[in-house]
């Protein structure tokens, strides 16, 4: 997730303090990982440097938490471009998992074990998300669903690999 773009997007509603921004971010998008203050301020200073935000008044006192930030015209253009560009489909875990399965086959270990253990770990994460979904509001549900579908995709790939272990073994040990 691009924190910079997300913060910019949040600033479109009006200028905010860094602290406010963090809270708004965490509330909406921070379910998995709330932002650290450090991240907020490094990101804001980068956006400032690039002319995407500007300072909009400083309260009495010292420190970055006294400053308010406003989005600039260039910032708005940047958000627009970001929203209009699709995210790169990530290869997630396949590389690591594939390497483990192949190495297990090559070394004569049980590739089924690799798969069972990975499935267990994936299912544990999915159970957690499923529980959270049950108690959450619609926003929570949608965020959890997204994670669930991704984990499911990994698992489906694993099951398919498991069903083809014989073939794969022949191929990799040839």
């Amino acid at each position: 997730m691009s924190i910079g773009h997300t913060l910019l997007g949040l600033l479109e509603k009006g200028p905010r303090h860094g602290y406010d921004l963090k809270r708004a971010y965490d509330e909406r998008f921070g379910q998995d990982r709330p932002l650290h203050y450090g991240q907020v301020y490094t990101t804001l200073s980068r956006l400032l440097r690039n002319g995407l935000v500007e300072e909009a008044g400083v309260e009495a006192g010292d420190g970055p938490e006294r400053k308010r930030y406003a989005i600039t015209g260039a910032g708005v253009t940047d958000v627009e471009h970001w929203l209009g560009t699709p995210e790169k489909p990530e290869p997630y875990l396949q590389n690591t998992l594939y390497a483990k399965v192949v190495l297990a086959l090559l070394s004569g270990r049980s590739a089924d074990d690799v798969l069972d253990v990975q499935r267990a770990a994936h299912l544990a994460a999915m159970r957690e998300l499923t529980k959270r979904k049950a108690s959450g509001d619609l926003a929570d549900q949608l965020i959890c669903d997204h994670a669930l579908f991704h984990l499911e995709a990994d698992l489906r790939w694993l099951e398919l690999t498991a069903a083809r272990l014989g073939q794969l073994k022949t191929a990799v040990t040839r």
């Binding site: 049980s110 089924d112 074990d113 299912l123 544990a124």
Partner: protein
């Protein structure tokens, strides 16, 4: 290769501590013709837990479920329900057990097409000699719980797949079973409907402390379980829940 950690799972536990095993299958063998469908599979189920049975197609999941439910008799091995061996029961006793203690949800084709949905849900109670009025009022409550009161007077053929499956869940739960056997209960549903059916099934089972043995190949459905058992080549591996 050794047997890759395939074990029978934990034995029964008495007294305080973990909940006692309710239903236990040990070292089941079953063959249809020359190739074995089950080759030493086992599974222990405790009251109130939801166990997902996973594994490739043809690995023996349904056969395991049918043996545990007393629908199939294994060639070798034992199935115990509350410490009584199913094979020691007479046929009548076994069907009585299935009707009173067990509930069943399958992928499709389980509702009687000539009866209304309400009559379908009331049927297991009627077979147990519950009076019609009483049976239908309990059936109505379950239809309501499963959010399908509106199809009560329709026949199964006049409902959507999702509605039909909810009716089937209502019918499986209406007798207050201790174990619900569900074989791909969401297999014919889209993901939103499938999830809702799972939510309703698991919630109702937890509320009544019924165990659920859930065969599924869908990870998102399996995520409603407490733990999973993997069946491969007729053998089973009970996985410890990861915390």
């Amino acid at each position: 290769m050794n047997d890759g950690g395939f074990t029978r799972g934990p034995g029964p536990v008495d007294g305080p501590g973990p909940v006692k095993v309710l239903l236990e299958a040990v070292d089941l063998h079953k063959a249809f013709g020359p190739t074995p469908a089950l080759d030493g599979a086992g599974l222990s189920v405790r009251a109130g837990e939801v166990v997902a049975v996973m594994g490739p197609s043809g690995s023996g999941k349904s056969t395991l479920l049918h043996c545990m439910a007393g629908i199939l008799t294994p060639d070798k091995g034992t199935v115990r329900y509350r410490d009584v061996e199913l094979s020691a029961m007479g046929d009548g006793q076994r069907s009585e057990l299935r009707r009173t203690e067990f509930g069943f949800v399958f992928q499709f084709g389980q509702l009687v097409p000539e009866l209304s949905c309400l009559e379908n849900v009331a049927l297991p109670l009627r077979l147990g000699s519950v009076k019609r009025k009483e049976a239908e009022s309990r059936a109505r409550e379950w239809l309501e719980r499963l959010e399908v009161s509106d199809v009560a007077d329709k026949r199964p053929g006049e409902t959507s797949g999702g509605q039909g499956q909810r009716v089937a869940v209502a019918r499986a739960l209406v007798t207050g079973p201790r174990v619900v056997f569900a074989d791909e209960p969401t297999g014919a549903l889209d993901s939103l409907n499938g999830e809702r059916v799972m939510q309703l099934l698991v919630t109702a089972a937890k509320e009544t402390n019924a165990a659920v043995v859930l065969v599924t190949h869908e990870p998102r459905v399996a995520a409603y379980s407490d733990r999973e058992v993997v069946v491969r080549d007729g053998r089973s591996r009970e996985m410890e829940p990861v915390t």
